[in-house]
Amino acid sequence: MSTAAQKPAGASAVGRGRLRGFVRAEPLAALSFVYLALIVLAAIFAPVLASHDPNAQQLMLRLQPWGGDHLFGTDDYGRDVFSRLVYGTRVTLQASAVAVGVSVLIGVPTGLLAGYRKGLVDAVLSRIFDGLMSIPGLILALTIVAVLGPGLTNAMAAVGLIFAPQFFRVTRAATQEVMGETYIESSISIGCKPTRVVLKHVMPNVVPAILVQISVALGVAVSAEASLSFLGLGVEAPTASWGSMLSTSAQTMTIAPNMVWLPGLMIFSVVLAFTLLGEGMRRALVSTGKNNDD
């Protein structure tokens, strides 16, 4: 708190220093981020990576072991497991993005509104989302699929609706906290309109909390996709997703056990990575919050 404490540091240098600090403080989260980035790249470049057409059946070459022409063998229709895993990444990530996108679109604006306006608006919105939380997710997904017709997008939109209350709560709590800050009072006292206060002054300070929630929710969405596809509510045959691969391989588990744990490992590792990343970001946020308090 003295004038001598000014550091001659440019903004970009600070940005780099912060990244290094994050990697040092949260190595697991940083590693998870790298892993997830590779997974996303694999999804994008699936056609390049895949060695075979993921849906091409070779009934003469069913349930092949690992190695040879088929890196991870073939499934019960003789389809290349490695290629299906790679293409399945695409489907799984897309499905998770749909779910999280829907919940962000529903939860964040309402959370901002409730946190900013308080009073009746807050009470009504909070009760609606409380009500939504009491609906079992799988039942709602089943209902929506029954009404809108089968398909992974519909099912995942339903999952997104189930996630929405979490985003609402996180956004609302963060907004309320930020609203109590002097800089918001300051922005009001310089004559900003409410919309400008919320979008320009509150929003940037709420985004970090939402990012943490997005990371965690993506993890849950991946396992939700797996559950739905396992139950046959997700992708339709022959499209591959990690969940559907797990489902089909479960039927031949006694003959080809190695096919169960490949999609299982993918689901497990990606969910874990998203969760670790989210947790790491959350801890990093809390500690910078502490630093700002001095």
């Binding site: 003295s2 004038t3 800089y183 300051s186 009001i188 006292s189 900003c192 940037p204």
Partner: protein, 336 residues
């Protein structure tokens, strides 16, 4: 009470301001019948302990009483003769920041951590001066330079956490003055700063004031600081004005025991006496009716003090005091 000789209305005139806080059917009077005037180039200090209602009175001038569950029950606030009480929010927004600006106690907290220094100042220019992105940025750098932030071009790209307390308060002042307001509300602007930095910030405020004829409503509990900056002082206690007057008179011959108590608790170098604190605490707002609110803590109280609520009586030229015994009490002041 006005010191202006011209027939022009004073810049800021607060009359009988009464504020209530609460919700639903229960409203508590937090500030009662506060009046003061402020002219261009003047500094008026609102002085009192925490909870005396000085900050809420000042924020009411910005029309912000409603934001924390309060309302203006009575009174008027006039800016250049124009009534602000009852103005629609849209009109009040036009006044906030452009005509009446505010700086806060903790400068680092009053700056948005998500924006650079330049952006904070440019924001005001964009809201009120209707400038484009580039012009607002140039204006911001100009302002940073004006408040004495070294190397403004580079510092404008720094974030608030890279600023020290004193520099951050300079930044807040730059943002507040960006659109040339006529009134600046300074809510304990130096309380959170180191003493050495305090003096520099006060110096800056004085310089700005003499340059631009700015009127400052200075809120503080520190009479030492007030002595440095103010022309007139309004002493508040438990939501009401207990004494007001020009700074010299009020410091040398206080008329209210509370003022004398505050003066006695200023630490002075070389006086060699122990500090005198005022015993007791400030009563919660709205609890005392029909009695002098300071009576319980007053060492000069007589039987009559707790039987009637004394009115604010004009004593000498431009002075007023709310004390039953004002005429016969001789209280110790401070000579500079």
């Amino acid at each position: 009470m006005t010191e202006s000789i011209t027939s022009q209305p004073p810049l800021l005139e607060v009359e009988g301001l009464t504020l209530e806080y609460g919700s639903g059917r229960r409203w508590t009077r937090v500030v009662e019948d506060v009046s003061f005037t402020l002219n261009a180039g003047q500094t008026l200090a609102l002085v009192g302990e925490s909870g005396s209602g000085k900050t809420v009175s000042a924020t009411a001038v910005l029309g912000l009483a409603g934001r924390k569950g309060g309302r203006i029950a009575e009174g008027s606030i006039k800016l250049r003769g124009r009534e602000l009480v009852g103005l629609p929010e849209r009109e009040l927004r036009r006044i906030r920041g452009s005509e009446v600006a505010m700086i806060f106690q903790n400068p680092l907290r009053s700056l948005n951590p998500a924006f650079t220094a330049g952006e904070q100042v440019a924001e005001v220019a964009r809201v009120h001066l209707d400038l484009g992105r580039k012009a607002a940025w140039d204006r911001a750098i100009e302002m940073l330079d004006a408040v004495g932030i070294p190397d403004p071009e580079r510092r404008a790209r720094d974030y608030p956490h890279q600023f020290s307390g004193g520099m951050a308060q300079r930044l807040a002042i730059a943002a507040a003055l960006c659109s040339n307001p006529s009134v600046l509300i300074a809510d304990e602007p130096t309380t959170a700063l180191d003493v050495t930095v305090q003096a520099l910030v006060l110096q800056l405020l004085r310089k700005v004031q003499s340059d631009t004829d700015l009127a400052v409503l200075f809120i503080s509990h520190d009479l030492g600081v007030v002595a440095d900056v103010a022309d007139r002082v309004v002493v508040m206690y438990s939501g009401e004005v207990v004494e007001q007057g020009p700074i010299e008179d009020l410091f040398t011959t206080p008329s209210h025991p509370y003022t004398a108590g505050l003066l006695g608790s200023i630490p002075a170098l070389g006086r060699g006496e122990p500090l005198r604190a005022i015993p007791g605490t400030i009563p919660p707002p709205g609890t005392l009716q029909g009695t002098c609110r300071f009576a319980e803590r007053c060492e000069h109280k007589v039987a009559g003090c707790q039987q009637a609520h004394p009115p604010l009586a004009v004593t000498a030229d431009s002075r007023a005091v709310r004390c039953l015994r004002a005429a016969d009490l001789v209280l110790e002041g401070i000579t500079r």
